[in-house]
């Protein structure tokens, strides 16, 4: 029987849409908080220093009632993430520039800023370890985390190789640059508890961190998510720090305290994507078969562990790419440097290692005389293959489907070969227009046993008005979880009109801990819990309605329907409440059968399901300026099951542009442990004019969990950058192994390869020819 309304697979308007387009949506800095003071951090300008003295007297001279806190007068001094080495305020030693050393609060932001500037701190500057090489030289002392994979017989594979291909690939910081900077409000309650509202992804992380920090029991720390203007991982753990700061100030001041970062502070003092250096050495057969990969992964973790162990782990687990190999060895290190701790950024280590592997695969292709498509077709995982952790991919392997679809739509192979031939004929670089290809994978949900540890829980309940209310800790940070969960619940309830379903931003007072909004788990894992809890509740209503109607009743299309009549959902719900009282059902995470992973040996089911993707990027490189214009980008992604096509495509489109930005535009220069590109004007992200037409094609190869959804949020970050560099290589012959591929780096490669770009036809003649062909001067969609 087909449901009359099938919300999953449709694109209904998001419930927060009207508020966002009218300016009514309230982000943290929009909240009206009478009596609240503003908190500001005093930050160290040196990457490493001893703190000799903190003198707040000049600040108190400006503000007699100033609230001032240092490490000594905090309730405790750890921001709990995982390793507990992250202080809320530097005590005797500062380990990165911009590290907070003191906190002040004053009635207005301007006064708090002035007071903070007046706090005088005496430092003794210490030598700092900056960059991967300096960290490596320190040996074990600078190793914050290790991660390894050993699969198959590496020696035998290399012995059997017809050739060995090696390469080193490097990526730099990427700054999230969410449009809304970090913000947090802490309100001290009369009973000694705390209420926090913030721009965040993980309300229970904040609760846990603040509870440990203050010594309050978690139940006395209420955390609410405000409308959040973007996260991308940058609001996964950093809000924990702001929350501890705001909480400490609020408790000391006895009044609400708001902390909102200004843009420069947000850029320099909060986490970024880990810079990486990945070395790949591959044993390859003459026909292009990958026999083995020996991979070293180095991540620059910054000064404290925060998320680095997990980022490294995921990077390592994705390092060999979506490809079969007899043997894989990966050795990963997260190294401590005296810089702002790096952290979660959409993709979480996998973009870095897959950038390396994808560029490496193109290098292998050249070595064996295959084109980028053929080498990938030859080696891509298919059902039944075994990953480097020994996991058998029993189902839902969309790698070749994505690859073939991307290649077909873009006519990749023929066009790539034409460009290569044109360059060979010209003998001097060019043809200045090219295509690049990537293939990538991304495991959904927490790695290994993480979901079992989280034990995520979802509640669904009837409201007093007879509506279906979904309660989870999932934070809508733009991706559309509020509408997607409503669709899932409505679908599980036999096609309930969405007006009858309520979803809302999480509040720890009422939302159960379904786990953090990270790891591409929200639809796959939490969405499944929403479906199950909804079905359980609806089953109860059906039983009630069956009694009421005198015949078995089914919830369908917004009604309880039986052979003896039908009743509207709301009416049945209200009757139920009147007769039986509140109705609530819970679903808890259950691992798949056989979902085992050994965290010591890194063997087993690393992820229950993998999403797959393939990108084709088309570029034009200006021979005069070496600027790369992305003419079009196509991303074909297998995400298992699409809940909301428009917003799902939005994840792929938005993620692909972030990947292209990371690949070609976004550079964070550093000097002496300081970040130089510290403003919107200097940290360059794509504008609407830089962005190409983006085409997202969504494939559905249902996964094993629940209704078949897999992850989508992070997947696109794995594909755009290597495809971009592949396109630049096809356009110019220049192989870049370092991100971002800026014009300056193209020039270095040009001069290294001693290519003098040809004196191309004058612009006017080219334009005239283009006109004659009927092609617009504007963009063509990547085909």
């Amino acid at each position: 029987m087909v449901a009359p309304v099938a919300p999953v697979g449709e694109s209904p308007p998001r419930p927060d849409g009207a508020d966002k387009v009218t300016g009514r949506a309230l982000f943290v800095d929009d909240l009206s908080l009478p009596g609240a003071w503003h908190g500001v951090a005093v930050r160290c300008p040196h990457p490493r220093a001893r703190v000799l003295a903190v003198d707040a007297e000049p600040a108190r001279a400006l503000e007699p009632d100033l609230v001032v806190l240092t490490a000594r007068n905090l309730p405790s001094n750890v921001v709990h993430v995982i390793a507990d080495d992250w202080p809320a305020l530097a005590d005797r030693e500062v380990r990165h520039a911009y590290e907070p050393v003191a906190l002040v609060a004053a009635p207005t932001r301007a006064r708090a800023l002035a007071a903070a500037a007046a706090v005088h701190v005496r430092y003794e500057v210490m030598p700092a370890t900056l960059g991967l090489d300096a960290a490596l030289a320190e040996g074990d002392a600078a190793v914050l985390a290790r991660s390894s994979i050993d699969h198959g017989d590496l020696e035998a594979a290399f012995a059997a190789a017809d050739l060995v291909v090696e390469g080193t690939y490097e990526t730099g910081h990427q700054e999230h640059l969410y449009l809304e900077p970090q913000g947090m409000v802490a309100i001290p309650l009369a009973d000694g508890g705390l209420e926090l509202t913030g721009s965040l992804q993980c309300p229970y992380f904040v609760q846990s961190a603040v509870a440990r920090f203050t010594g309050l029991p978690p139940a006395r720390v209420r955390v609410r998510q405000a409308v959040t203007g973007g996260g991308f991982g940058g609001k996964e753990d950093v809000p924990d720090l702001l929350a501890c700061h705001a909480a400490a100030l609020a408790l000391r001041a006895g009044r609400p305290v708001k902390i909102v970062y200004d843009r420069r502070e947000d850029i320099v003092a909060t986490s970024k994507r880990h810079p990486s250096r990945v070395h790949v050495r591959s044993a390859v057969a003459r026909d292009g078969t990958f026999l083995a990969h020996d991979i070293q992964v180095l991540f620059d973790a910054g000064a404290y562990t925060t998320m680095s162990a997990v980022v490294l782990s995921r990077g390592v687990l994705h390092a060999s790419g979506p490809y079969r190999a007899r043997a894989v060895r990966v050795r990963g290190l997260a190294l401590r440097t005296h810089t702002t701790p790096n952290g979660a950024f959409r993709g979480f280590g996998a973009p870095q290692t897959q950038f390396a592997m994808e560029r490496h695969v193109d290098r292998i292709a050249r070595a064996v005389g295959l084109d980028p498509l053929a080498v990938r077709r030859h080696n891509a995982f298919v059902e039944g293959d075994v990953t480097a952790t020994g996991q058998v991919l029993t189902s839902s392997v969309g790698a070749l489907a994505c690859l073939d679809e991307a290649a077909r739509r873009s006519d990749f192979a023929a066009r790539w070969r034409r460009n290569e031939a044109a360059r060979a004929r010209a003998g001097r670089g060019g043809p200045w227009r090219g295509l690049g290809l990537s293939l990538y994978w991304h495991g959904g949900g927490f790695t290994g046993n993480g979901e079992k540890r989280i034990q995520g829980r979802v509640d669904v309940a009837l409201t007093g008005a007879g509506l279906l209310e979904v309660r989870t800790a999932a934070a809508d940070i733009g991706q559309g979880v509020l509408v997607a969960f409503a669709q899932i619940a409505a679908s599980a309830a036999g096609g309930l009109p969405l007006e009858l379903v309520r979803t809302s931003l999480p509040d720890t007072a009422v939302s159960p801990d379904s786990g953090p909004t990270v790891a591409s788990r929200t639809i796959m894992v939490v969405g499944d819990l929403v479906a199950r809890a909804s079905r359980l509740l609806v089953a109860e209503l059906e039983a009630f309605a069956s009694d009421r109607l005198g015949a078995p009743a089914v919830c369908w299309g917004g009604e309880l329907v039986s052979s003896k009549g039908r009743l509207p959902f709301r009416e049945v719900a209200r009757e139920y409440l009147a007769a039986r009282g509140p109705l609530e059902r819970t679903a808890r995470f259950e691992p798949l059968p056989g979902q085992e992973f050994d965290e010591e040996t890194y063997r087993g089911m690393a992820y229950p399901a993998y999403s797959w993707g393939s990108d084709v990027v088309e570029v034009e490189v200006d021979a005069d300026t070496l600027e790369t214009r992305v003419v079009g980008a196509l991303a074909v992604c297998d995400v298992g099951r699409v809940v909301h096509p428009v917003l799902c495509a939005g994840q792929v489109e938005g993620g692909t542009l972030q990947a292209l930005g990371w690949g070609g535009l976004e550079e964070m220069k550093t000097a002496g442990g300081l970040y130089l590109n510290d403003r919107f004007a200097t940290y360059i992200v794509p504008t609407a004019l830089d962005a190409p037409p983006l085409e997202a094609v969504l494939l559905e190869h249902p996964g094993p969990m629940g209704f078949g959804a897999k992850g989508v949020g992070e997947l696109p970050l794995d594909g755009g950058a290597p495809a971009l560099l592949g396109a630049i290589a096809n356009a110019t012959g220049l192989e870049l192994a370092r991100l971002p591929a800026t014009p300056e780096r193209l020039l270095e490669a040009l001069e290294r390869d001693a290519i003098v770009p040809p004196v191309a036809a004058p612009r006017r003649a080219r334009a005239a020819r283009a006109k004659a062909r009927g092609g617009a001067a504007g963009r063509k969609r990547g085909r």
Binding site: R264, L665, T682, T687, P743, V759, P762, R764
Partner: protein
Amino acid sequence: MTRAFSPRTLADALRVLGDPDLAAVPLAGGTDLMVGLHTRAAPAAVVDVSRLSELRGVRLDGAVLDVGAAVTFAELGRDPLVLRHAPMLAQAARQVGAWQIQNRATLGGNIGTASPAGDSLPVLLALGAELECASTRGSRRVASASLHRGYRQLALERDELIVRVRLPRRRRDAVQVFRKVGTRAAQAVSKVVVAFTFARDAARLRDVRLAAGSVAPTPVRLVDAEQACEGARPSAALAAEVAALARAGVSPIDDVRSTAAYRRWVVGRLVERLILDVVI
């Protein structure tokens, strides 16, 4: 608190600017001054000159295109007189920042800020613009060629206000070309700016002017390159020679946006392209 003056007449504005105790600075679009408040102390006093009629409007004054200093880049980008007689200036105006900035930022402000990366400055150099400046001591003309004394230093007195920018009308046979290489396609500070104008005389180049920005502490005229062009026939050989002279004529630096090597290379390439693209 900053003292603010909103004079109705130019004379009133000049009086305020001329009072040394006030230490007033002119304010037009505010797109530089307001950003500066983040890092510098607010000025002691500002004079709003954005509505003074003497600084507004674009008109033809004989052989001169006379542009008010408080004309915005948005206005410059669509003004029929500018499009006709100084198209390079309109082109540059449309590449400043983005729409929101163009609606506020003014030509006079761009000159007064005197950033080495100011997009209009090489255009004014190439076109041989003249500034009409006023103070309580009277009015004077300053040629753009003598305007730039050093890094962010103009040959203007502290109390002088730029009132008009005067550009020779484009001759019918003159060609104007502007190229900006920025950090991205919009909202971009330039890495390299090149402004080029020439006239045709039979098959030869005449009245060649070539100016560049973001490649030296001030915008610069590439005089050696110009001289090599003067009277010459455009050819691949000339293009290569002029490019080399252009590269030698700039002194770019490494900074947060780009590298000296890249800037120098691009100047050469752009200039070579400009000569090659000349169609006689």
